[in-house]
Symmetry: C2
Subunit: 350 residues, 2 copies
């Protein structure tokens, strides 16, 4: 029997965590909490996932042919650990429930850092999460930047300047804009991403500017990183690849020079929901200068935080002290690394 996992909320992140939990033999999915009847509830039910709902929603779910397994409280009570995958800021309200039932809980990046004692990203601070009761996994763009920063090592960095070109919405959020503008993501510099990075690695000097553009597929990031001492091309490529979470590919060799084409690769590789768990770094868009480098990477906003969500449970539940072993285990369960295999070895940072 694995660790009993509950997922509270079954939207973009919740459904992906639930499916990922089902693929990891150390975990057992107790069920998911769902608050509205929709297609995803019906699909989950058909796939044998146990659905819990607020008591006042029982009739509504029964009408739709879904017999609730119990209340949200029942779900939490029966779990060893809870993933809170509710909409931003709702997690802070849900915490009361986890406290009442004395359950460890993983919160998402949409919550403020105060919701948990620790903001987390595996390559940066796995050890700090060992035995912790409440941890917040930082959001997509922050995770993408932290994987780069912590692959290099914060001690090696002088400063980071990043421009984030954000997708306007997820594919299903067709009520959101902008439709044809480029918009400011925040009204000041830095965007919240720099502050969020600092919740994990407080000693890094970082500035971020974010713009929002009319696409749904992925974010793109341009990172300009100043180093304390020079790195060779091979050293940098080695650090990025050895992280286990960064796919390095040559856009000219593979003819993959856009987020649309990355998604097509993932669809052709039969990734579930075409989810791309890795940072996708274009090797030909990595430029080393004396004590600095610039890189361009694409980040799949819906999927990138899923591996880190699984990782952190190994720490919180005291299952493993070595992050490398955890990354290896989770990568195997999610099929991360299989894509890297198709990339010829000569396609490296240049």
């Amino acid at each position: 029997m694995g660790v009993k996992v509950a997922v509270n909320g079954y939207g973009t992140i919740g459904k992906r965590i639930a499916d990922a939990v089902l693929r990891v033999k150390d975990f057992e999915l107790v069920g998911v909490a769902k608050y509205t009847v929709d297609y995803s509830a019906l699909l989950a039910h058909r796939n044998g996932i146990r659905i819990f709902t607020p008591r006042e929603k029982f009739a509504e779910f029964r009408n739709a042919g879904v017999e609730p397994e119990g209340t949200v409280e029942d779900l939490v009570d029966g779990a060893d650990i809870v993933y809170d995958a509710s909409p931003g800021k709702q997690g802070a309200k849900n915490k009361e429930l986890y406290v009442r039932y004395n359950k460890p809980a993983v919160f998402q990046g949409g919550e403020s850092p105060e919701v948990a004692g620790l903001s987390y990203s595996t390559l940066c601070n796995y050890e700090a999460a060992i035995g912790k009761k409440y941890v917040r996994v930082v959001s997509c763009n922050t995770t993408g930047m932290l994987r780069i920063i912590c692959s290099i090592g914060t001690g090696q960095l002088d400063s980071v300047f990043a421009v984030i070109v954000r997708r306007a919405s997820d594919p299903r959020e067709d009520h959101r804009g902008p439709v044809s503008s480029i918009a400011l993501d925040s009204s000041t510099i830095p965007s919240h991403h720099a502050l969020d990075v600092k919740t994990v690695v407080g000693d890094v000097s970082i500035e971020t500017v974010a713009l929002v553009v009319p696409t749904t597929l992925m974010h793109m990031q341009v990172m300009n990183v100043k180093l304390k001492k020079p790195l060779s091309t091979d050293e940098l490529a080695g650090l990025l690849r050895s992280s286990g979470r960064i796919l390095v590919l040559d856009s000219t060799l593979l003819k993959i020079d856009s987020t649309g084409k990355i998604v097509e690769l993932s669809r052709d590789a039969n990734r579930p929901r075409y989810d791309i768990y890795e940072n996708v770094v274009f090797s030909n868009m990595v430029k080393l200068a004396k004590e600095a480098f610039t890189l361009v990477q694409a980040i799949h906003q819906e999927a990138i935080v899923i591996p880190e969500n699984l990782d952190v449970a190994y720490a919180m539940m005291n299952l493993e002290t070595d992050p490398l072993k955890v990354v290896k285990k989770v990568n195997e369960a999610l099929g991360i690394g299989a894509l890297q295999g198709i990339i010829p070895s000569e396609a490296k940072a240049s």
Copy 2:
């Protein structure tokens, strides 16, 4: 009588140059060369603009109700100066014609720098264009960056790092993509923009990365500029404003936080074709650090180079030696500065 101006090519840039020439009393529009019958030819004809075409197209234009005034050669022969506004790389072929008729010619940024002895941007090198026979006005993104760089002064700059978020196409180019991707603009770093900046100010250390996004309205640029010595907020704001070509506005005060809203401002201000000749710098997105600043600006790709195109003729035709006087004259003719008047004085770089 003003300087006799011919415009060879009547597309996105050509029609704007022609209309701008009509507004400057020092110039007289001899006519435009048009190579295909379309709505813009009919509109120009109706508006009294003389249309010249290749001889073999006379019948086609006559059929459409447009009597050609003569051949393209006739147009060039009757002008004191020619604007080449043909599609990229065609200008180099057209140059033979300008040489044959011994006419000064202004080329656009789509041509390679070799087409003219000088690549040009008013705030940087007006004086170098005085009396020159052939000059190339650099393209939209380059013009946008050069206005910032030369407002500050190249001697004040240590280095520039810029990320350019490009519109996918102009509004009428509805055959172009991407429709929903974020795409790399080039397969290496820097993008061509850094190289193009150096054609004007060769001594500036600059790196650029460009991404293409699915919108048609304007580009956005994030510039991170390292200075040789610190500037105060007021000094920086003063330098930008005194350029005469940079509109500084507060996105929170005016509720203009996207390219779509900038365009709406320009439409409401009755700018012809909603053309925005100024760099639009968001004052609340200007952040000064010790010896550096970051800014975000929007650039209207269709219109931004029009003032520089007019300016340069004053230099080439030996009409004026002082660029400040030329900028003032052209700004008045095009209505540049009127928008700045609506911006409260407290809305400044912060």
